[in-house]
Chain length 372, copies 2
């Protein structure tokens, strides 16, 4: 009995592998209409920031895991003290919740990161800017996602509003990168770890649009990226799936962000790898042996379907299925709102450009960007 | 909104593709503990032989389809007359429910079948035996499955008990075959049809034990088998997945049985084909364009996990996952009873003997037949 906190699409996409493996999934959702709550019989309605709701839910499960990182760390520490099995643990998860804690820990582990500093004043920011050069990337340590909580500041003046807040900010050098990469690794409590091939993520305005597997990187950088992800998983004692977002630079790979759950950069694994990230996450948090992470096609491309002003995507859906019998459409059952991730499509094949074009076409068509 | 009559493993395995495609699945089950009822939120409890329960369920769905063939044909005709969309239709489904009707129709369509005759008396059986030779295969036209309702009779005396029943029997010549084959085809109401590669089924005591894809048949027989399945699907106006079980003989392929739903001989398609039979069935009954049926690996083997005296298969489960990271285990959530199909395993690879050995090993281990 695996309990997932959060009823979004990540929990939803765990439901398929769970039922195939004979694992019972339960979901804590805020609303019965949420993506995962629509498809799983065992749904508790409650707010994940409410300790009592969390505890009540956790007691019906053998292990607690997550669809997102927005559960208060202190609540998880309380539950752990009460004997609830939480995977990843509060001590690990905090590195995906707090970017300042993450940077400190990765630096201590010797993992290559962009140069960074915690800044609480204009003077500190000025000093850091003088050291690494402007513009700087400013981040709120907690609560950001999909480009929210991130500011590219050209100078101190541009950061004034953010500095006026009460909390320190994470300032990072802006990295000149060739491409953005993601490495997905799963690790189980008894220490087995399995890493998928390195992928390229194509981001627009901080939101992932496409994922290309495998990434067109040098063998040396691919191995370095996988090794860094494995070292992080071990160093932070992660249980479950860990996604490590990285910058690929001429000088090597640098870690950008962490997520400790199935991740958008791994949706391609549903059809594109022998074991999907959703199945692997379940196996890892249950301490079951992990599955084969090899690709099931030479090239795989995933494109997100972002909500637009068309509420009904059914016409596009029909077109895409008819146009390309090999296209794999995934819809999350979410109400369509502009910019919201409401689904994704995956294409498999032998040629990188071909699979990318097919995935991008289908996603654009579903979104209504193409007329014929 | 697709309504599936029956809560067995076939309905259960439709749930994963349904949630990925954003299709809502409802299930009519007899008991809340049934395989599919465990994993689908929209479950109606009721008996599929009760017209009122069937009607109440059907009215909550856009299309009615099936996990098994045990729904009275006359009930389906009533529902169709009331405007319920039933796929496959009662007129098509009867060919999978009544073997005598099936033989008559296939013969009229010119599909190669074993020689057969409906017999109601010893005299008729004796005459048929004299014509095609003993032993003969006797079948009850309705209600048989997994070897039940089938008798290999050495002579008229051996058939006496069966002949004493009130209904005529289907008598068929016993076919000398090289191997048993199955061809799976999906067909949608607007006439699109898609066929998967021909597979070999390995049967023990009338129960399918293994499925090997693709079958090691001549190109000529493979094409003939696929063409026969496509002609049957069109001839019977099937909507949804049709499984055609065949005998591969030196003289060509002969049709043995039909099933109009996802079928045990197609479980390998979950990982082994670009589109699984469960997804394709949903697409077909919703009249959506069909997906790519090509294999996703060179060789695929599926082995059924049959219940044994070990109630808890968890130890074997752990071993299998650890022993072979590429093995795909599917458990149906069914109580373990001797001989009952409680799950299946699939192996993918490049070598036919290797994938078969891996699948057979895992299934045997889960069953408790192997100790170390």
């Amino acid at each position: 009995m695996v309990g997932v906190v959060g009823g979004g699409q990540l929990a939803r996409m765990m439901a398929g592998p769970a039922l195939e493996l004979g694992i019972t999934l339960r979901v804590l959702a805020r609303d019965a209409g949420e993506s995962a709550a629509q498809v799983v019989p065992g749904v508790d309605l409650g707010d994940e920031t409410d300790l009592e709701a969390l505890r009540r839910f956790a007691k019906t499960c053998d292990v607690l895991t997550f669809d997102h990182e927005h559960v208060p760390t202190e609540h998880l520490r309380v539950l752990e003290a009460e004997g609830i099995v939480v995977r990843p643990s509060a001590a690990a998860l905090v590195h995906a919740q707090d970017k300042a804690v993450m940077r400190e820990r990765l630096t201590a582990l010797g993992i290559p990161c962009p140069r960074w500093r915690l800044v609480a004043s204009e003077a500190e920011l000025t000093a850091f800017g003088a050291q690494v050069g402007w513009p700087l990337v400013l981040k709120t340590p907690r609560g950001g996602y999909d480009g929210k909580g991130v500011l590219l500041a050209a100078d101190v003046a541009a950061a004034a509003d953010w500095l006026a807040r009460d909390e320190p900010l994470l300032a990072e050098e802006r990295v000149d990168f060739e491409r953005e990469l993601a490495v997905l690794v799963a690790r189980s409590p008894h220490g087995q770890a399995a890493v998928w091939p390195v992928v390229e993520t194509v981001q627009v305005d901080g939101v992932c649009r496409e994922v290309l597997a495998p990434a067109a990187v040098t063998e040396e950088h691919a191995v370095a990226a996988q090794q860094a992800a494995l070292r992080i998983a071990e160093g932070l004692d992660v249980h479950g799936v860990l996604a490590v977002e990285m910058f690929d630079t001429t000088g090597g790979v640098l870690v950008n962000e962490l997520a400790m759950r199935p991740h958008n950069s791994g949706h391609w694994t549903i059809e594109g790898a022998r074991t999907s990230q959703f199945e692997q996450h379940l196996r890892a948090v249950l301490d079951l042996p992990l599955g084969d992470t090899r690709m099931s096609a030479r090239q795989v491309a995933m494109s997100n379907v972002l909500g637009c002003d068309i509420e009904d995507m059914y016409g596009g859906y029909l077109h895409c299925l008819a146009h390309d019998p090999g296209i794999r459409i995934h819809m999350y059952g979410k109400a369509v709102r502009p910019g919201r991730k409401v689904g994704h499509v995956t294409a498999l094949g032998d040629d990188a450009e071909d699979v990318r074009a097919r995935a991008v076409h289908a996603a654009a068509f579903l979104r209504g960007d193409i007329d014929g």
